[in-house]
Amino acid sequence: MASGKNGQPVVVVTGRGIITSLGAGKADNWAKLTAGESGIHRITRFASEGLKTTIAGSVDFVPVEPFCSTELGERMATMVAEEAIEEARIGSKGDFPGPLFLAVAPVEIEWPHRDVLAAGSGANDAVGYDDLLRASASGRFHAIHERCLFASVAEHLAERFGTKGSPISVSTACASGASAIQLGVEAIRRGEAEAALCIGTDGSVNAECLIRFSLLSALSTANDPPQAAAKPFSKNRDGFVMAEGAAALVLESYDSAVARGAKILGVLAGCGEMADSFHRTRSSPDGKAIIGCIRNAITDAGLTPDDIDYINPHGTGTPENDKMEYLGVSSVFGERAKSIPISSNKSMIGHTLSAAGTVETVFTLLTLEHQRLPPTINYKVPDPAIPLDVVPNVARDAKVRHALSNSFGFGGQNVSLVMSREPA
């Protein structure tokens, strides 16, 4: 089967890599995820005095000293790309035969960089940007320039893995990881490439990033015990838990995968998106963009809502997201919404932000492979306004042919992906 809708190539997955706060690699992550383990813990990376939220799903087992979020993001991206390429057995070392699409948190000069520049300025009392500029102009801080360019993470990954062409770094906030996959799917469907490396990574657990979300009242403050804080779809849900992680996919045209005898791990059957013009952080109350986004993805896959057997939701555990996602799901699936299993990985790994769409795509592919649904943990107080089968607290087996994964982000971003176990 060479082609799907409109004669375009069918896009399959031949490699997967993942890191979350649960651990590194597919085996470890899947075992812990289906055991209902939480990776959320008390923050030890920086002082938590004065913070309302003192927990996160940070990836502390990948050491970065001195800490730099962009550096951690790059290291995790490197690790998951290695895992995915190894599984796909594609190309040769340092020579990946296709483009790179990277979902990455916006890069910025971080406090440790600013501290180094301030110290280097020699200012002995008040420190202002004039002093920092004097230091930066000294020529002693070239490394800060390269590290803090937006292009730097993708450039370093492209160099290491030998991807082809100009690497693209995409941000659609918390939907970025899904957008990176969508860009890869589209490139293969256009016939520009036979394969694409799609990576999402986020190492944003630093004081300022946490405070930014805290000031928007987006984070759970249920700090004790940390493992119980993320409560998607529960009545007492009180926000998401910031987390880190990365995931990578090797996407390939079906023909290319078959021709080289690669094992097909799933099909990226459909992508949908729709932007919301209602508000910077909230969805339109009628759910129009979420509904449209989900429908677009299912239509793009050549399926109907009745074909979807499982939903991996955005499911952040904020009061707003889960309410609106329920509205979207119930509008698209109607009466069936109550009976389609829908379980939030974020109940265990927290919200991996820019990486979430990619991380949850890998988990959805593992769900299809193992025919087993990971649970939504911490589901103790059901919300009667959200009558869904959230696979409460305990994993279970199920027959899953087609699955939907949702990603929504600040700025009205909505992306949905449909994955299938086997080519149609």
């Binding site: 008040a126 070239h142 770094s169 941000s171 256009r190 300022e208 930014r212 000031l215």
Partner: protein, 394 residues
Amino acid sequence: MADAPREAWITGIGIVSCLGEGADAHWQGLAERRIKVDAETFAPYLVHPLAPLDLDKQIPKKGDQRQMEPWQRIGTYAAGLALADAGVKGNAELLARMDMIVAAGGGERDVAVDAAVLTNKPKAANPEAFLNERLMSDLRPTLFLAQLSNLLAGNISIVHGVTGSSRTFMGEEAAGVDAVRIALARIAAGQSELALVGGSHNGEREDLLLLYDAGGHMLRGDFRPVWERAKGMVLGSLGAFLVLEARGHAEARNAKPLARLSGVLSERSSRTAGAIPAALARMWQRLVPPVSAGIAVISGATGAQPATGEERAWLKTLPDVPVRATSSILGHGFEPQFAMNIALAALALGREKLFPAVDSSGVEREYEGPLERVAVTAVGHWRGEGMALIEAVT
């Protein structure tokens, strides 16, 4: 397999810079070689400051204006100009299926908060706790939304109603090239009919000077046009958006083409010596018809070295082709520079002439001949090479 690539037209442009807003202000400013440089505000650094905008004209709600930092206002304003120019502004049916790709950096820091923290943190008993305390109490909650890269696109959705899709590419100059490249590729392949693509940049920022001068890339002292500098960039504040449209879609609604966007390529060269000229030569060969009379180059030369020197070396291989580097007048704006130069190419093609040279070093020469096509180059100050071919629709 896929059908033959579909033709894409530029049916609207929206541009703002130190020259003002819109096509006429830019054409006039370029014709007069009007160089506006502020050497005082960020001395010893220079900047091409944004001409004052009447924000209400494109961002009618004060509440929306307040939610944005300048880089977002510049971009949202320019996007509105582009939509109006294409005749789609306010057309809910078209905007609901219009695709959007924005090339963006990040938003402004609150430099007063940064300075206060840097001054007092070393003296605090617990510096980390002090940082938490100050940020928790001094950061405006909505500042984050003004800093997030994808919130320029978000604001365009909110203010102008573009909701078909929304993607933001990051990565300085290369993001600007790839945004246009992907928007065009989607139209050519039938994945998109109508797209808004571009970006914005506020160059009047100490936090950006800090980043780029850490790399040794900023011009200090006296102003010179870009080809006349030994090295160094001068930042500009730019907003530039293009409306790209499948030819059939434009014809069906009687939209007039400003120009055809015939091709966009990007490369990631190793930046070893000679890699940039080789990349530019490859892209030129793939994009530009072999016998091309009436062609000019509009260059995105930044002033950074070795990038600009290598581009200059490549341009010497095209002795008959007139060259214009717009950063001499507009300043360098990173993400939106490529879209801006494509817009200026479309303007020049529409007026069937090239604007005057701003250079005494020999790269640019006056040209009064016919103009049928323009190659726009982008050689990123650190990484990324790109080229577009824009042609007159006859």
